[in-house]
Amino acid sequence: MSGTARRGALALVGLAVAVALALVLAPRASDAIAAAAVATVTAVAAFVGSLPAVRAEHPALARAALTVVLIDVVVFATAFLSVPTDFNLATGAGMAIVLLGLSFLTGASGQISIGNGAFMGVGAFATAIWANHHATTPIVVTLLIAVVVGALFGLLLGLPATRLRGPYLAGMTLAFAVAFPAILSSFSSWTGGDSGLQLPNPVTAPHWLVGLFRAGTPTLTTDTLWLTDIVMVVTGVAFFFMANLFASRTGRAMRLVRDNDVAAELVGVPLPRTRVIAFVVSAAYAALGGALWTLLNNSVSPATYGFALSITILAVIVIGGIGTISGAIIGGIVYAYSTNVIAWFVARTGLDPQGNLASQLNGIIFGALLIVTMLFSPMGIAGTVRHLRQRRSQRERG
């Protein structure tokens, strides 16, 4: 009981400090109120989530609390970042959702998809097509429609997956990724052909958010912040659902299918259904990521969703740590910053930025990392970190 009291006191002190800082530092009352509200929600969520009783008895509630804390912190931070940084982070967050889906597919079935860039494109185009026909639909509904369309495509391609073993699923999804541009141009009256689609009503920041900013702040700033925060909240919710799925009975059944499908079948896990569910979920998550990208860019272009994107997705999740949740977050960050890091490297080494080598550096580095990761540390960054921590704690215990 004293533990609960101590945690409560800690949360209250943290809250008091945060509110005091907000009152002192914020230039206007409205800023201070907003900051204090964020701090309160964070403190309450952190308190609830850290209670041992909650963590033991209601793991889903604890995960929800953790999600709220993380979303709060990220949303608070994005208010202070520059427009390009926010945009970059949101792009990475959309990618992280896609990676999470792929991570789940592999973690649950031991199989891999090389076509998730195309499923991403399905969601991206579904969003744009729907928005062009029903301009007034709320964002949440549009996103859900994109997810459903992505899931249906996943089901269509996943049906043979029930019986596939070995590399057939990888090969089939690769063929889908290669075929996707042809699918888009076959339906060019819907998809806009080579030029793609624009959103009729770009997402704009609501008045109360604009009111928090100094008068005369460019709308680009507030609109980008609003979009970024929408993406962050959706990402948080997507991760919350996935964390629960990983820990659920279904998730455990799926891991058994991955490790030993014969044993799974013997204890009564329906193999075909489990495999199809894993594939459909991964396709739906990819579609959600693509839908968010369409919102972020206000438009969608078929060039984005080529074969190269599918390969990049595979590379990034393997480097982050396939089969894990944290691997998807790491992969999203790697994706968001890879372009910057490579540009920095090119400037540093004095390579001609327009030259052949500099423009191919991305592929060379990702390809090399992919091979090195698989040969020497197949669990990626997340798995390696976990492994090192386990070893250290074992050594400490003697």
Binding site: Q111, P167, Y168, I183, S186, F307, G367
Partner: protein, 299 residues
């Protein structure tokens, strides 16, 4: 008779056979590697592409055409051997997604290196024979000296592979190493060498394919040359069965003919869609391929 020969159907069949020969060759090279080492080689298009750049680059130094082709084959043998020894060997016995991911990484890196060295601008290769269709009573018949050369080359390569595997001592050792490595090792077969040889042969078959594709498909030689062809080759191999060389070749040729009709009578976008549909349906009906015998899986 003349109008029949030049009719759309015959033209499509002849053109389809030419494409099908290419798909069959890609499928065959995939099957060779799959049977030897249980790896689906996603870099099966990229490795020969690299070898073709290496060999055909010598054309600009005025080396004779056929010598350059020879250099391509030697480069392909070397790349195949090196790949198996360095990249693939550590993967035997690992979970099945590991080799898939490594080969995708290899595909990325080979295409990036090729573009970094030789740029992405297509490089046109001279065709050794005229690519212009023969004419009968003023009408093109859908077959040119070069496409005849393609079909003949494909048949010769396929025949050579079959002969090697069926009728030679080396072929017996190759098959034995793939099917029962432990027993073969006990009987004195150098299994490791045989696996390497499987990769070398497969890459060489790929190099022949890459040269034909780069000379004929009006695309020239590019780093991404084989991406699309690989997809069709995989579809052919999967429909025929990854374990069946004959099935791979046969379904490659059939796929080429069917898709030629699709492209002619529907439109060019429909080609890959129909191919994807064929793949999905055939995998649902026969997950291990149409032309393989079902085997019980060892637990």
């Amino acid at each position: 008779m003349d109008s029949f020969l030049t009719s759309r159907v015959v033209t499509d069949i002849l053109g389809g056979l030419t494409n099908g020969a290419i798909y069959g060759l890609v499928a065959l090279s995939l099957v060779l590697v799959w049977r030897a080492t249980r790896v689906l080689n996603f870099a099966q298009g990229a490795m020969p592409m690299f070898a073709t750049y290496l060999g055909m680059g010598l054309l600009s130094y005025h080396w004779p055409y056929w010598v350059c082709v020879g250099v391509c084959l030697v480069a392909a043998f070397a790349i195949g051997a090196l790949t198996e020894r360095v990249l693939v060997r550590p993967l035997y016995g690992k979970p099945e997604i590991n080799p898939i991911v490594v080969m995708v990484g290899y595909l990325i890196i080979l295409e990036a290196f090729a573009a970094a060295i030789w740029s992405t601008t297509p490089r046109s290769l001279p065709a050794p024979f005229s690519p212009i269709d023969w004419r009968l009573a003023g009408q093109p018949v859908g077959l040119s000296p070069f496409s005849l050369f393609e079909v003949v080359t494909a048949l010769v390569v396929m025949g050579a592979i079959v002969t090697l595997f069926r009728f030679t001592r080396l072929g017996l050792q190759l098959r034995a190493s793939a099917l029962a490595p432990e027993v073969s090792r006990l009987l004195g077969v150098r299994v490791g060498r045989m696996l390497t040889l499987g990769w070398m042969l497969s890459t060489a078959v790929g190099a022949v394919t890459a040269i034909l594709v780069a000379s004929n498909f009006f695309t020239g030689l590019t780093p991404q040359l084989m991406d699309g062809i690989f997809a069709f080759g995989f579809i052919a191999a999967a429909v025929g069965g990854l374990d069946s060389p004959v099935g791979a070749v046969a379904s490659g040729i059939a796929l080429g003919v069917v898709l030629q009709f699709v492209g002619d009578f529907l439109n060019s976008n429909a080609i890959i869609l129909v191919a994807l549909g064929i793949l999905i349906v055939s995998l649902m009906v026969r997950p291990n391929g149409l032309l393989t015998r079902s085997t019980a899986r060892r637990v």
